[in-house]
Subunit: 250 residues, 2 copies
Amino acid sequence: MDQLSTPTRDRSSSAFRLIAQELEQQVLSGDLPVGSILPGELSLASRFNVSRSTVREAIRLLEQLGLIRREEGRNKLTVTAPGHKEIGERMRTAFILRDTTFEQLWEVMTAIEPMCAMVAAHKASAHDLDLIADNLARTEAAVKSPAKIVELDIEFHNLVAAATGNSALSLSRDTVGELFYPAFNLVMTRLNAGSRLLLAHRKIFEALQARNAADARSWMERHIGDFQRGCDLANLDFRAPISGPIMELE
Amino acid sequence: MDQLSTPTRDRSSSAFRLIAQELEQQVLSGDLPVGSILPGELSLASRFNVSRSTVREAIRLLEQLGLIRREEGRNKLTVTAPGHKEIGERMRTAFILRDTTFEQLWEVMTAIEPMCAMVAAHKASAHDLDLIADNLARTEAAVKSPAKIVELDIEFHNLVAAATGNSALSLSRDTVGELFYPAFNLVMTRLNAGSRLLLAHRKIFEALQARNAADARSWMERHIGDFQRGCDLANLDFRAPISGPIMELE
DNA sequence: ATGATAATTTTTGTCAGACAAAATGGAGGA
DNA sequence: TCCTCCATTTTGTCTGACAAAAATTATCAT
């Protein structure tokens, strides 16, 4: 029986908070492995000797923490590892409330993407390369359709990040990227820069394949740098806050 | 009266989720500015035409999102912007559950820190530089005390990141740094590398002061690179997962 | 009047019990 | 075996209640 160890009633540690902590602990310690299913609210309530409403509040906490989720259509809670989706959500609010601009996100991308390319050049598996090659082929086929290019571009960068095998790196990238790419895409669409994008992607891919970290890095740098130039050319405000859609200058 | 616009009862959007969304919206739109205080649960309940328990669940969601917080000792909820503390919390669970290693975090730092140094070289204000100079002076005085060095090192990097004026960059750095520095510090303590650290900090500071982005960057690169070398010298496992404390090799 | 203290009113945390709608798990039929 | 229908949980919400903690207000000594 794993009741709450602290029956005290401090304000800082209300029952629902303690329960959430306890469950988080069990997840982090591998006691409740990712993928496992939580008991129903009722059994949790009796296990912790609290009422259902209290467990519910604890569950809301863990849910927003990204530790548990209710599967689509399903009715039971499963333990999950928070992904870029959950982290991104929180970052998004943080960034918006701090009036973060596209330029600022771009600086982050300028730091992270080239590193992803470098690491991927060393670590990418044959399978990773296959996936990227496939993405390239589809990009080639869609080079005239801005909407598809956009999607494929996002996928490309995700794949490169994934190929690093570094979850910290790819998580960091994905979260910022999710906020950044809408703007990137707008630029690309406006400029119809599909072929330039494709060239960069192809060069990066070749470098990865050749395990040439330096080339992978410099092509990625160039590719990300295109965004800034693109903003100029497309007459978009590089320094607009991300709260709204990127604005036209003047 | 801003009742919920959707009285429907889909599973995907339960009342408490809608209310949380609505409130989040109001915060992001500046309707509920950061710092303002929320009405009590009862008024919220009547405003949204739901019961108190439902509002409570919505509040738990927003609380964990980092958007509202109850001030120390106070009893009312205030709107806040999520900071690195809240984001870091979530990243921490994500990283731990993905068996992220110190090496992986180090790769992220290797990408971000030099960028911070570069940007700071351009953007640091006189005040920023003063703060860093002060930090340097204190570091100099504490060069023999590993514990203090550790604290001052964290502060130094925070200050450089803050000096970029880029909240996205500093938030990204701070969150990862919070997880990374404990290990960094362990290494530094073991090696008693205070003077080497001080030299790097000083060189970085000089570069910032001289607005020399290239130097700032390369010194920061070297400084971060020291961690890897330090792990070797201190015989610590660079590839240990961050879930526990960094382990000794063998 | 003023600052400190006591009394009163809100608000919060928690509980119990209730109910409709949705999901789950079987039993039985095609 | 696969699918449909029904009994059984489980979930989302609501109402009402109560003690403890905060916030207010009233009260009193200076």
